[in-house]
Symmetry: C2
Amino acid sequence: MDSAVTLHEARAAGFSPYALSFRYGQRHAVELEAARRVARAGGAVEHRTVQVDLSAIGGSALTDEISVPRDRPEAELGVGVPVTYVPARNTVFLAVALGWAEVLGARDLFLGVNALDYSGYPDCRPAFLEAFERLAAVATAAGAEGGVRVRVRAPLLEMTKAQIVLRAEELGCDLGLTHTCYDPPAGPAVQACGRCDACTLRLRGFREAGRTDPLAYAR
Amino acid sequence: MDSAVTLHEARAAGFSPYALSFRYGQRHAVELEAARRVARAGGAVEHRTVQVDLSAIGGSALTDEISVPRDRPEAELGVGVPVTYVPARNTVFLAVALGWAEVLGARDLFLGVNALDYSGYPDCRPAFLEAFERLAAVATAAGAEGGVRVRVRAPLLEMTKAQIVLRAEELGCDLGLTHTCYDPPAGPAVQACGRCDACTLRLRGFREAGRTDPLAYAR
C-alpha cells in the first residue's frame, strides 16, 4: 500500500519512475504479483524484480520458520522491534536501488517507508534515510567523480496510515491492487488474514480515514 | 586474495570469523568454490553464500555481456572507473553482512578492500567505509535501541598488493587456494588468464614482492 502510493507520488511530482521489487526469501510471493499489478497501474516505465536471498542469513518471521504474531493489541504495535523485522532489509533494498539508479543515470530513490505507523523497524526512520543519502554520495562512480548527488525521497514518512488512504484516493491509486498481509490465507476467496500486525495497521488506517478497504479479509 | 588475507587478519586479531560470499550474477562461479576452500583453510566458524542477483540491474562486464578488457597497460589501471565495476556492489555486500551480523550479535565487519591497488572502484575508498559505519549505527535494531556500534574493518586498505603477498606469507595464508581472474580460461589445467586487470594487478604484486604466484596461468 505504501509502495503503491509512493509510486503515484513520484509520478505526480513529474518523475518517470522505474519500479524495483525484491524476492528476498519472503514466505509469500503473492506480494510480488501485487507489485507487478501496482507497477503497471501506476505507470512505471519499467518494473524489475531482483532476487536477494535474505533467508540465508535468517532472523525474521517473514523469512524463517518463526510464527507471525496475530491479534496483538493495537497499543503494542510500534513498541520495540517485532519478530517480523528482517535485519538490514531496507539497507539491502536501497543499496540495490542505488546500483540500478547508477546504471539508469537516475538520481532520486523513492521508497514507501513511514515513520509514524512504522511497527518499530529501525530502518524506516529519518536518521536512517539521511545516513543512506550520505553513503550514496560516496558509494557510486558518479559520486566519486564529483557528479550529481542521489536523493532519498520518502514522501509518506510523516503520514499516518489514514492519511495514506486518503492520499491514495486523491492520486487515483487503487489500493485494491495492493497486498499487505504478512500471512495470507490459502485459496483465492480471501486476500488477507486481518489478524497480523500489517493487517491490523492497514485496517485501522481505513477505519480512521472513514473508508472501506476493498480487499477481502478472512475475518 | 584480499578476502583470504583479511580472514586470516581477523583470526590473528582474535576474532571468530563468520565468512560470507555472494552469488551476485558473476559469470564465473569458480570464485565461490575458491571461497569455500579459503574459508575452511582460514578457520571460519561458518561460511554462507547469499544469492543477490545484481545481473538483473546490469551495468558491468562482470555480470553483463560486456567484454572484460585484456592486456591494458599497467599505467591505465586505477585511472577512472573500469567496465568491471559492478554498481553499488560493496554497498549491497556490506548491507547483507550487516544483517547477518545483527542475527549473530556480531559487531565487526571485515572486508578485503584495498584503496591503493583498487582499480578505480568508488566503493573501496575510506570515505565509503566511514559513511557505511555511520549508516550501520542507525540501520539496525541494536543501533536503534542505543546498543553496540558496528565497526567496518578493512585491514588491507592502505597496503599494496606486494605487501599483501608478504602479509599472506606471515599469516600462513595459502594464496594458491584463492581465485582472482575476471575471465578464467576453460578447462582444469590453468586457473587464470593472466591478462585481465585483476590478473595484471595480482601478478605485479607477486613480482614486486619477489615471490612466485602458485597459480597456473594461461600465459
